[in-house]
């Protein structure tokens, strides 16, 4: 029943920068507050229902107000990059999926794109369009998981069941195409691992027909829900230039009013031939990020529809490049040509080689700019692989958002950052 007065929506988010001074990612309690002795340090530890992942926040509380915050990460550090240095390029492709396990298809694509950039390989049209389709389906899947869990944290428990109902529909499509619900390993260097199975197009069409109605359900549940508005509007404020200074990207950046989407500004795959709108909201609070996520889901369904139109009249086209030094030759060719047998043997035993050099490719994953830096010494194994994780950077903004936040607002703000701990800790 409390009237919310001080949070006026619409005025400029805040004027000068709010980034905490000595260390941008650590909010320290002021001295006089600490002198009162009322400061309670609480661990939002690795195993906390609301952090949705092994994130540990050391929070200084003055009653309900958050006065100090430091994010401690590393509880899910898995040593991806060290392991990838020991495997051949072919075997490395399964690792990136597990880095950001909610948007696994985008992670897989960013590594494959970096390798193809070094190889300067030319990808057939059918593979490009199918990759675009699967990356957008994966964006819907990731936004659904985010919506289900962050609404659950703010008390809208039924939203979890709605969101995960549609998530299972998306995973049915992944299972139909690739045989596996998550971590599909469907992209190869040069294109797709297999052709698109029969029966995928009608199922995908049905999903595209059903999904907008499901998003309408979510919107009716939340968008004008008074409790949701009071819990999300004016909370976790982040101004545009603070977001850029803190390296934010994706829905966090577009929620702060910066119109930057790598699919539009540095188009890759088939995004320049696909018509979609980039949602940007100027308020810079949790509600703005929620609106960005919802509109992006609608746009993704439109992209999937357009990809299906193109793919349906691409029957019989090659779905993988035919550069024998990198791509396995088709099975039947092995019985006849000695050349193919040598190439097949060379690729399978030693792995194909990538010319010496380094490359950095950045794509728009559901969480923001997902970058992959690879460095090769011309051998069959990568020399160094590094992933630029948007969640790793998003956690730095948590301290800036906590200025004058209550503890319940902290849960909403950290939830709206959409951090996936596998990606943060790599």
């Amino acid at each position: 029943m409390a009237t919310v007065t001080q949070r006026r929506v619409g005025d400029p988010i805040y004027t000068q920068s709010r980034i905490p001074q000595p260390t941008p990612s650590v909010l320290t309690t002021s001295e006089e507050l600490r002198a009162t002795g009322d400061i309670m340090t609480v661990n939002f530890g690795p195993n906390h229902p609301s952090t949705h992942g092994v994130l540990r926040l050391i929070v200084d509380l003055y009653g309900e107000d958050v006065t100090g915050l430091e994010a401690v990460v590393g509880y899910l550090h898995t040593g991806f990059e060290k392991n990838m240095e020991q495997k051949t390029w072919w075997k490395c492709i399964t690792y990136p999926e597990r880095i950001d396990y909610v948007s696994f298809q985008n992670n897989e694509y960013v590594f494959v794109a970096a390798v193809e950039k070094l190889l300067e390989l030319e990808i057939p049209a059918k593979a490009t369009w199918m990759r675009t389709l699967l990356c957008e389906l994966n964006r819907i899947h990731s936004h659904l998981v985010w919506l289900g869990t962050s609404a659950l944290e703010l008390g809208a428990i039924s939203m979890f069941w709605y969101a995960f109902r549609e998530r299972d529909l998306v995973l049915d499509l992944f299972e139909l195409v690739t045989g596996e619900r998550m971590h599909t390993r469907y992209f190869q260097v040069g294109g797709l691992a297999e052709d698109i199975p029969r029966g995928f197009y009608p199922e995908a069409r049905k999903f595209c027909a059903w999904m907008p109605k499901a998003i309408d359900d979510y919107e009716t549940l939340l968008t004008r829900n008074k409790i949701w508005l009071v819990r999300t509007q004016g909370i976790g404020l982040l101004s545009a230039d603070d977001a850029i200074a803190l390296g934010q990207s994706g829905p966090v950046l577009r929620g702060s009013g910066v119109d930057w989407d790598i699919r539009k500004d540095e188009p890759y795959l088939a995004y320049h031939q696909v018509d979609f709108r980039v949602p940007v909201y100027p308020e810079g609070d949790v509600y703005a990020r929620y609106r960005v996520h919802m509109d992006e889901m609608r746009e993704s369904v439109r992209i999937v529809d357009q990809c299906l139109d193109r793919l349906e009249n691409m029957e019989g086209e090659p779905w993988i490049a035919d550069d024998r030094k990198v791509v396995l030759p088709p099975r039947e060719e092995l019985h006849t040509s000695m050349e193919s047998l040598i190439h097949h043997f060379k690729i399978v035993t030693e792995g194909f080689r990538v010319p010496e050099g380094e490359a950095y490719v950045a794509i728009e994953s559901p969480r923001g700019e997902l970058g992959c830096y690879i460095c090769s010494d011309g051998g069959p194994k990568p020399w160094r692989v590094k992933f630029r994780a948007p969640s790793f950077v998003a956690l730095q903004a948590a301290a800036t958002m906590m200025q004058g936040a209550l503890i319940a607002d902290m849960i909403a703000a950290v939830g709206s950052l959409d951090t996936v701990m596998g990606e943060v800790d790599r």
Binding site: P46, H48, R56, G63, E64
Partner: protein, 120 residues
């Protein structure tokens, strides 16, 4: 005299029996913990709790909120006897009850406008 107290006695027996069975049941079926694990004595703090809880002062605002809750919660106790004999008192009882609530409402609107429900 005895028979009009009989239902009350039966009710009392049941009221005592339920907690008694729960307590004895939990002792009888409990599987003895193998040893007093130190971790079980420390509070659960998301997996990283160091030791027994050190004394921490709470700010006064919590006390204010607690007082307001108690203030408005105890009123329900007064409504039970009213509910039992409401059919006897009929309209008079009902309006009495409304007057009682009105006074409470005035108090509620006062603290609401004063901002006591806001956290500061």
């Amino acid at each position: 005299m005895f028979n009009d107290w009989l239902p009350f006695a039966i009710y009392g027996v049941f009221a005592l029996a339920i907690p008694a069975t729960m307590i004895t049941g939990s002792f009888k079926f409990a599987q003895r913990p193998h040893r007093r694990v130190r971790a079980r004595t420390t509070p659960f703090e998301s997996g990283v709790s160091e030791g027994p809880p050190q004394r921490q002062r709470f700010t006064v605002s919590f006390y204010l909120t607690a007082m307001l809750f108690i203030l408005f919660d105890i009123e329900i106790v007064f409504l039970y006897p009213l509910a039992v004999i409401l059919h006897l008192l009929s309209w008079f009882g009902f309006f009495e009850f409304l007057a009682f609530l009105l006074i409470l409402l005035v108090a509620y609107v006062y603290i609401w406008r004063k901002g006591a429900l806001e956290w500061h």
